[in-house]
Amino acid sequence: MSTTTTETRAAGPAAPGEPPQGTGLLGRLRSSLQQMLAFVSLIVLFIFFTVANPDFASVSNISGILLATAVIGILALGTTFVIITGGIDLSIGTGMTLCSVMVGVFLTYWGLPLWVGVLGGIAFGALIGLVNGSVISFLGIPPFIATLAMMMVAQGLALVISGTKPIYFTETPGFFNVAMGRSIPGLVIPNAVIIMFIAAIIAWVLLSRTVFGRYTFSIGSNAEATALSGINVRRWQVIVYTVAGCFTGLAGVIMASRLSSAQPGQGMGYELEAIAAVIIGGTSLQGGKGSIIGTVIGALIMSVLTNGLQIMSIPQEWQKVVVGVVILIAVFVDMVRRKRQEST
């Protein structure tokens, strides 16, 4: 609601998220070229860091950047849905930790087979989302409060269940390869990165090609009108949070696998990073607008920035300042680009 009239006529993407663009091949090409431009800030950053430090563009560092994006990226994917409905999910950080711990319980305490552990972790994430969604839509608690409460409950439960100690995956040594193995021979990129991209594709299909995605947008755009169109808004809201929960669970699995352990004390603060990635990617907290590709770019901008500054050995206190300023500039550039694009 913060935009004023003068801006609003010009601002904002033409249609929601993945908009109904030109139908012809030409139209599609044009629209995808325009979307490529969203990379602008990302590419500029990339070039800058490559020039500043040649190590930055090495294959192994890029693979490292992608790996560093995986957890936040997957969290951000799920949150994109929630934010498009006009909601928010603060529980993803500690929820992810709780899912890690549950994977530990499944695999190490109960000795279940690896695949059960992995699916169990994702399912537990869905359960967290289901609770969030139900509290929000059936009790009518504002999403901020409901998921804040879940954030605390999940953090507490992770500590309680694990006995405040890390759980190691001693029974299932193969678990490490879930995130860190290299399934595609000859490719240096670890599975976690591939999983993130597959998750992104699934999220993209869900958001732009299914009824679910359609209702996600329309609830965020006008929940009342959506309800009046005969759509069970409450039920869909629950589904949105549950889907987001699945991504949280997946992030928990990846996290546990990469660290070879479930670390119950972690997770706080990840939610803010994930939400930031979503919003840098052009999704609006007001709801109704957003895209998966934007979120992926947003997450990449964040990790390229962090990695680049670390590679350059900038003192950490200055890193914060620089990250803050660069995020501002990136978002500003993106806004100007979109405005220009519209007026042509």
Binding site: T5, R9, R209, F217, S218
Partner: protein, 536 residues
Amino acid sequence: MTAQTLTDTTATDSPLLELRGISKSFPGVRALDDVELTLHGGEVLGLIGENGAGKSTLMKILSGIHPPDAGRIAINGREVEILTPKAAETLGVTIIHQEFNLASDLSVAQNIFLGREPRSLGMFVSDATLNRRAAALLERVGVDLDPRTRVGDLTVAGQQMVEIAKALSVQSDILIMDEPTAALNDAEVAALHDIIRGFVSPTTGVIYISHRMEELKRITDRITVLRDGQYVGTVDTPDTELRTVIAMMVGREITAAQEPAPAHIDAAAPPALEVEGLSTKRLLREVSFSVRRGEILGFAGLMGAGRTEVARAVIGADPHTSGTIRLDGTPVRIASPAAAAAAGIGYLSEDRKHLGLLLDRSVADNIALSSLPRLSTAGFVRTGAIREAAHAAVDTLRIKTPSIGQQVKNLSGGNQQKVVIGKWLLHDSGVLIFDEPTRGIDVGAKEEIYALLQSLAEQGKAIIVISSELPEILRLCHRVAVMSEGRLAGTLDAAEASQESIMELATAHTQAIVHDTPQPTDTRDRGGPRHEHHDH
């Protein structure tokens, strides 16, 4: 299509829809009190009443939005309960709401099929299919809109068309239209009436709410009248004089609308507002006009002719690429509506819900909004003064509200419109631009508002009225500026102005172009989003 009397109804020949003893109260308001209504197959039933009489509430009960406190609903003789919008849809009841209910971030096609998307494999939707179907539907309905346009980018009239198309896309038996024409001009109204006639069959019926009496005369078979939430009666349209209906509606005789008799204007008086060569990136080309103190200048034109755009450019809500604006002879730079207000220009928007009102604030807050500096001392608001001003506006405009503390969203559509008018009456500006000021306002109140505008003019204010209702323009204005395709096609004196002369100018430009390119769609395609709406 002869109307039947109520007593004719037998069990075998039960009416399409029958409402009996419907009552509904909101906190502080008895909106409906023992209301009845009968709709027969094959007829168009008019529903009229003053602003706040309960028409929309009755229709909301029928479409599953509000549960009634008491009463029975029967469809084809079978008693039903309608508790959700979905249930209404299942029973074949479809409604076009008075206040639009569209998701402004979705496209036209996505809105039309919202909740009823054709799916493949149970979950996948294809926008291409949706666009194709929507295009077909829009064509059948005779609406010239690109199905891919974002609804938030449409004008109010465009949104109204989407609402209509959306309702017509559903197979239904009972179609409710709550003021579908409030934002439309005559040509579009005529098109809509054709659609209605095409829709009505012996097994279907339409309930049609409007404050435009001539329309009711033209399209309805019978008219049901409500007053203050109570049922007054039902008449057969052909046998009834409109003034009788109006009398039933307001409970007293109303003197017929006077002939346009604008007061004499001193032709030598210097103009208060002069606009010269105003152009915008999108649409306007070299628009020039002026308005004097004491004068009411009308703006006429077809939908999308650019009247709203002129007003927005003048008050600085949209940037203009060239043109000068002079106030009392001095050129001014107006970069924002705030600057315009400070310079003494007020603008009442055509889109009250999104651009006019603070829906979740009180009546008093809304009325005081533009005039707070005057109603405060050293930055502290004088609550007493605000209350007084709000009461004054409620009294002069006869705004029907339980209190000045009532949230505006709980008022009826017409009363919301009066609140916006009240806001600008209170604001002390020399130039007032009213964009569709009487949208959704009942006949009686309209006359009062005309009188108010005239008295404002007499007090020396310069007034611009943008309206799609030609009779309103003719009734009110000293001069009429006619827009066509972003240009000023001409300005007519009250003496020269008539329906015919205005329409001629309004279409002059269009006809020249329409043969080679489908111009109106084009304009829309080129433009960016119009305004962003926040729907929650």
